[in-house]
Symmetry: C2
Subunit: 355 residues, 2 copies
């Protein structure tokens, strides 16, 4: 109920009589519908969700407080019918989701349209207590799965086998889907910013990076741990780890309501720069997590987002030395009245695996 009221307030400011929600994550957020096809229309007085016959039982089960319609004709015509029925003269739409081809179809059906941006996303950025509880459960599943993986991490194991094992463990914890394919990158491969698990075997002295996430009721989690395999001179690996850990600490300590997201990024980045590694931290410091694993706020030097209470995002600085290896440490935090509260509970003391 509250979500509808909040959305209506925003829509009214846009001088349209209704908004068409086609982004399925936004549809799920607003209505609870989890099917893979459908859309919603919200007007000042009415709330309508439309899906196809495959989901007619499911939608009735999942959605309360929205009128349910089953698609009988081509989608653009269904939307035209709704505009006529509810007297929508101008219809707002999500311009990040509607394709140009579909936009043209709507225009051909003589619907007057207004592109809108970030309307639902600006609601999703702040999490309710219920959403927080789902995200906590999602984190717990991811952490439990990782703890169960630990005995398998040893010299000679391949990245691919470990990634597969972790995916199995996540599913066994109850995750219906995973936010992304598990990343396991070892040795020089841990320096690749977007490594996929390969048949490379873990060897002595390797930094091994794990980036994975869980799911609970559609809400994702996202975390990264980097561990070290004992062997040879590992002093440089250790030093790298402690620099990243310190940078992450600085970023987390900088979080408070009102700070710019770019300021949180700067807290980590400035520290890494001071240590001389500023050329080796090519990505942003974090991102919001919820029904999407990458959502607002964007925590990077380019971000225009501001941090506010009850936002949930990752803090994940990294240093990647080509040919040598990389370290990234990623936690999720929620913004409280004056500080960040850590949601991830896996320890961050460097784990060194004996061989």
């Amino acid at each position: 109920m509250q979500k509808k009221a909040l959305l209506r307030r925003r829509v009214q400011k846009e001088k349209v009589e209704g908004i068409l929600i086609t982004d399925l994550t936004n549809v799920r957020y607003l209505t609870g519908f989890t099917g893979s096809s459908g859309f919603a229309v919200l007007t000042d007085k009415h709330a309508i969700i439309v899906t196809d016959f495959r989901y007619q039982e499911q939608v009735r089960h999942e959605v309360k407080g929205w009128s349910i319609k089953i698609e009988r004709t081509e989608r653009s015509k269904e939307i035209k019918n709704i505009c006529d029925m509810y007297n929508i003269k101008k219809l707002g739409f999500e311009d990040h989701d509607i394709t140009y081809g579909f936009y043209r179809k709507l225009v051909k059906n003589r619907i007057t349209l207004k592109p809108l941006r970030n309307i639902v996303e600006s609601l999703r950025i702040v999490k309710s207590p219920e959403e927080l509880s789902y995200i906590k459960a999602s984190i717990k599943r991811a952490e439990t799965a990782f703890r169960k993986l630990l005995p398998f991490i040893k010299e000679g194991a391949t990245e691919r086998k470990l990634a597969l094992k972790l995916e199995e463990l996540l599913k066994r914890e109850g995750c219906l889907i995973l936010p992304f394919e598990v990343i396991v990158a070892s040795g020089f491969r841990s320096a690749l910013p977007h490594a996929r698990p390969t048949d490379k075997r873990i060897k002595k002295g390797d930094l091994v990076m794990f980036d994975w996430g869980g799911e609970f009721e559609g809400y994702f989690s996202d975390m990264t741990r980097t561990i070290l395999i004992k062997g040879g001179n590992i002093s440089q690996q250790k030093a790298l780890y402690h620099n990243v850990l310190e940078a992450q600490k600085k970023a987390i300590e900088s979080v408070r309501p009102g700070i710019e997201a770019s300021g949180v990024d700067a807290a980590a980045r400035d520290y890494i720069k001071k240590k001389g590694y500023d050329d080796f931290f090519g990505h942003g410091t974090g991102h919001g997590v919820g029904l999407a694993v990458h959502e607002k706020p964007v925590v990077s030097w380019r971000s225009k987002d501001s941090i506010d209470e009850d936002m949930i995002f990752t803090v994940e600085p990294g240093i990647y030395l080509p040919g040598f290896g990389g370290v990234r440490i990623e936690d999720m935090v929620i913004v409280r009245k004056s500080r960040a509260e850590l949601l991830t509970s896996l320890p961050k003391k460097l784990k060194i695996i004996e061989v």
Copy 2:
């Protein structure tokens, strides 16, 4: 090389100096690039692929015969620069992929645009011998995984556990990703047209439907088998199965170059109608499979596609009786000179599991 030449011939007909390819499956098809961000531009003389810094090593490794650029600025500006550099006065784009928001950005950058549809898709619909070999390997992985699952299918097992096990087995066969979440639906749930695995346990007399697919070098496979658990009077389940099997046989026998895809659908549908079940077969008879698990041709009563040699698609009629159960049997076929050749080799004789 041949793909580029074929695409150029199509693009010339559209009276544009170049085409912007943003659909990542189409980018992969044309260039071999498997990254998750990037686009390509093809002109009469030039072929350019653009991605971001994360993929700079990967793109050089994967792509031959295209000039490689790394994105340095905002994407719409990169595209404008390419238009200026290669003298593209009018740029074709994929109107099923570009969002309205991005279209507006391109227009603001003073790029003259022409929406195009199905340009690359019309090449992808016919498979090369190399693509066929990948799809065969993808089918083999899916079949091997299913054979390994068989001993686990028994009274008392839950749908969810079986689905999870099959996903594990598929990954163990080497599938890097799966085309969709494995469907296991038993008893009355097998009548739901879009069932997700639940904690329902398999019991005597249940029809149990498995719908799953494999992957090899990005090429997917897709198959369905429905099996029966012995117990009580199972004559109606058996009759249902044999009707679907016969309908599938009719559809496969109808396939030849030149037939309308809607004709293949009709071959299955007419048989099911004759048996009195026409109200219980709500979906189309099949779809093309390749780099996407659902691609052209569409094999349904609404389809305007024609069947031609070397197309690969599924044939998957089904009958779903609400409250009782459903049967679907799905194979993949390739169109040869005068008939369909079956690619799926799993047996279709009704498998009855003893309890």
